[in-house]
């Protein structure tokens, strides 16, 4: 598993993600009915420029993802020093729901998907970003710990 992620995510061998795809694709389709939206954790702009793919989506590229979160990590971090702690935590959230999807979240049940569980901060940020728009239920899965 470690070798897989090393080659896939860090070396950027996108193609081997689809070896994983069959399992994940099947699984996601099985639970599709239980959620209104299945959302991958997004990657920021600079990752798009270097890695060139979202590592969550790439594990099941044929799945019908609701890719409605965007990440602007670098822009937010510039002004950190101006804010109080609470503000900072809020402002520090790199994730936003893209504009055209904001009104589609009310009373919806949502599943967040991430590849590797690290501290939980990422998932908490994503949860906060969605919660603002009145979701009913947010669950999350990570592919490995």
């Amino acid at each position: 598993m470690k070798d897989f992620f090393n080659q896939y995510k860090f070396m950027g061998d996108y193609l081997i993600g689809s070896t994983f795809a069959i399992t994940l694709y099947t699984y996601l389709n099985q639970i599709r009915d239980q959620f209104d939206l299945i959302i991958p954790i997004p990657i920021d702009k600079s990752t798009w420029l270097t890695r060139g793919f979202n590592q969550v989506v790439g594990l099941a590229p044929k799945f019908d993802w609701n890719d409605i979160l965007v990440s602007n990590r670098s822009d937010n971090q510039k002004h950190q020093y101006q804010n109080s702690r609470i503000e900072r935590i809020a402002r520090n959230n790199p994730f936003q729901v893209c504009e055209e999807s904001r009104n589609k979240l009310r009373e919806k049940s949502v599943l967040l998907v991430d590849d590797i569980y690290t501290t939980g901060t990422t998932l908490r940020h994503a949860r906060d970003a969605l919660h603002k728009y009145g979701t009913k239920r947010i669950e999350s899965i990570t592919l490995c710990r």
């Binding site: 061998d13 996108y14 798009w48 060139g52 793919f53």
Partner: protein, 439 residues
Amino acid sequence: MVEDDKEQFYGREIILSRDNHSFECDLRPGVTKLDNSRYQCNRCATKFVYQSGLLPRNEVYCRNCIQLGRISSLVNLGTIAEPNKFKKGVDYLAWQGQLTNAQQRCSRNIIESINQQNNRLLWAVTGAGKTEMLFEGVAHALKLGHRVCIASPRVDVCIELFPRLQASFPGLEIVLLHGKTEMKYRYRQLTICTTHQLLRFRGAFDLLIVDEVDAFPLAGNAALHFAIHKARKLQGTTIYLTATPDQKLLNDVKNGDLSVSYLPRRFHGFKLPEIMVKLSFGWEKKITKGYIFPVLRRFLQLQKSNKRRFLIFVPRIRQLPLIHNVISKKFPDLKIEPVHSKDPQRHEKVQLMRSGEVDGLLTTTILERGVTLPKIDILIIGSDDNIYSSAALVQIAGRAGRSKERPDGNVWAACEVRTKQINTAIAQIKKMNRMKVED
């Protein structure tokens, strides 16, 4: 850009993100689009179609050289033309050894090729003292301020060459590059590296010496041959070293594109040990059941009574523990170590053999080239297995008896049938042994 950062770009191809324009270097795209569906990687020249290595947003990447860091349409390759920022006129060579007449002739030929900027095949049998023949040529090039590289397809060979060259060129800083080293790249006048690492260079070397051109993974690998071509300057000298040149090299010699120097005899003037075929039927079945087979028993008895050390070659990794078990059971007082290409303790075990702490190594083909172990005999189990090419068998035979004290090693080839490869290897050795040394 500070000088230290700039050095990284001299004769190299450095991966830069596409939006990075702040560097004062030549930029080339990582990948070139050839037509609607085909692309070419600009580091390894591999062509690929749209589907393989496709990224989202219509970007593509090369899977062939991904081990060295991914080349994609998202990046540029940055190079600064090799400036040869080295001191001229320094004689670094401290080696005091003696060359035989035949070796001296080859050594002179190399210097001629450096002066004339042409390429040369050095066709020398295993154990002919190839490394020593290179010293004067390397020293000559260094004195001229040339940038020099010695490359081999095999990591073992690079690791062994490094201390030998350090000892022979004491004032010179050398950089050793291969996939298993932590050593960072440095801009140095002499580089020792694997042929894979050559992919990271562009027009860097005035003198490029390629050892074991016929060895895996170089043999038949277009990307690595491209790397040899690319890493050298347009004007310069490439020296190919081999005991078993392939048809391509021989054709180049025939057409006059490549000069050739011959060294048919080993440095001590003795002949190559000839391969003796030992038929042994059903050996694999026997070892699987935990029994020894007669050829193996006879070989070990001889080694034991003559107190001679040995290498036993085994075609498949899975057979190693089986044979190891059988030997430990029947010859408990012989100290042997099994070792294979993926063995993390490989280098330590070879070291134990070299220092005489073990009597023999049980090994897959990975040790067949370059590693020098004096005074040994050899048994090739399953020599009819198709992983042994005739070139590999000649190389393995060349391992035996590499010293003046005992030049006559035994080489036994245990097999169920005499393959074409075995016969060709035997014929090649006989032919080389018949060749007269021209002085």
